[in-house]
């Protein structure tokens, strides 16, 4: 019997959940939220899915608007919210937003490059009982990391942030984005994480949206490079299995259709909140919905997202593209060109 593929095993799991009547037709509200707090960033990573800039967009939420969003997420019973950017910690009010979410016992994760995590920030993150912090480290040396991340001195700060947070008792893990700049170094980064005593390490496919799409000619991995990358991951997983967990994607995720088919097999459980006050169904889709300045999250969820994977534009998009790299050929690249907006 052949080994079950990622897609097959996922589909089987969904079928089991359906048989047990666990999965409803839709959820009344998101279970998880990914909140892009700002599009501003102090780094300029070659692989940024977002195309984050040094300047925030003029449409970003004010503090009072952000706190209102947090209140709505709490009232809706959202269970976990992951804050990201751009660089989430560039917002001066990040702690106020976390604090508001925590008032509702929402579990908060922070996705950051770590360069702004000093003693005071680490203390605040620990005090607010943030569930975990994910710090991006894209190389085992400053040279490799900074080639990917575009700022001299950032590697040292990111590594220091991991240690600082860990010392405060915060759960920290490292994420690694593979590109042609660093894919060969993944094993060394995993070793570094093991040496720092981390519980787990996360990596994913290079997402060819945003700046990554613009840079795709120079940073996209060839099939051979992906094979080497996955081989290194396998070797590290064996070597460090008693010390840490390695969370890696299935190579099948390279196939956009597979990724989107898997995502759309179960009812939608999350939404992405953009700095421009819209909601997204998925990072890889060029569609945004609603206007949080005019409509509550509940309404946008109900009208567009709760059964978002069945929407005609989404179904048609999934049918149209095969590979992640096919997105590059599309005129509407998420996070680069103007989104197709529904309101």
């Amino acid at each position: 019997m052949s080994e079950p593929t990622f897609t097959n095993s996922f589909t089987q799991r969904i079928e089991t959940l359906n048989k047990k009547e666990i999965l409803p037709k839709y959820f009344k509200a998101p279970i998880f939220g990914l909140w892009e707090l700002t599009n501003k960033c102090n780094l300029s990573c070659v692989h940024c899915y977002y195309n984050a800039n040094s300047k925030p967009s003029s449409a970003e939420f004010s503090t009072s608007e952000a706190l209102e969003i947090a209140r709505q997420l709490g009232e809706l019973g959202v269970f976990e919210v992951y804050l990201t950017g751009g660089e989430a910690l560039l917002r001066e009010d990040w702690a106020k937003i976390v604090s508001k979410l925590r008032e509702y016992n929402i579990q908060v994760g922070i996705i950051t490059n770590g360069t702004l995590v000093d003693e005071a920030a680490a203390e605040e993150i620990a005090r607010l009982k943030v569930k975990w912090v994910q710090i991006s480290i894209d190389g085992s040396t400053a040279e490799i990391h900074e080639k990917a991340r575009g700022l001299a001195g950032s590697w040292e700060k990111s590594v220091a942030a991991v240690k600082l947070l860990k010392n405060k008792g915060v759960r920290v893990h490292v994420s690694f984005v593979p590109s042609s700049v660093n894919y060969f170094d993944v094993g060394n980064v995993i070793r570094l994480c093991a040496e720092m005593g981390l519980e787990y390490f996360v990596t994913d496919m290079l997402v060819l949206t945003g700046r990554a799409a613009l840079n795709s000619a120079s940073i996209a991995l060839s099939d051979k490079q992906y094979t080497e990358f996955f081989k290194s991951l396998d070797e590290s997983a064996k070597k460090y299995s008693d010390k840490m967990r390695i969370i890696a994607p299935s190579p099948e995720k390279q196939v956009l259709k597979t990724y989107l088919s898997v995502r759309s097999a179960a009812p939608n459980i999350w939404c992405i909140i953009t700095p421009e006050a819209t909601l997204r169904l998925d990072l890889l889709l060029p569609f945004t919905y609603g206007n949080l300045r005019k409509q509550p999250i509940k309404q946008i969820w109900g009208e567009y997202l709760k059964e978002g994977w069945r929407r005609p534009e989404v179904v048609s998009f999934i049918k149209k593209y095969e590979q992640l790299k096919d997105l590059i050929a599309e005129r509407t690249i998420p996070y680069v060109t103007e989104d197709i907006h529904y309101e």
Binding site: E21, I22, P24, Y26, K28, F79, E80
Partner: protein, 97 residues
């Protein structure tokens, strides 16, 4: 494995549990706690048992109420299953005795 729960026990929802009713017919419950890796979904029968665990109903009374809503051939099996479900919920920190 934790000890069995007495059929006279009156379990109640753990005070630090975060939960919500969900699904198109309010048929499921999603529960979450700080020490859970991720939220968990209770299927319609588990959700029914969860709702009845209000600190007033004994396990036996809960089984009787569940039996009233579903076609159950053997009450003793149902009682044992409700008791096992409540034990699991207590073990996971969803309920407390």
């Amino acid at each position: 494995m934790s000890r069995k729960i007495s059929i006279m026990s009156k379990p109640r929802i753990a005070p630090n549990l975060r939960w919500r009713v969900d699904g198109e017919n309010d048929q499921i419950v999603i529960v979450h706690k700080d020490d859970f890796a991720l939220p968990r979904i209770l299927n319609p029968v588990a959700a029914k048992i969860f709702h009845l665990c209000d600190g007033n109903n004994t396990i036996e009374a809960i089984a009787e109420k569940v039996a009233g809503e579903f076609e159950i051939a053997d009450f003793s099996i149902l009682l044992s299953e409700v008791s096992e479900c409540a034990r699991l919920f207590v073990e996971k920190g969803i309920l407390e005795e």
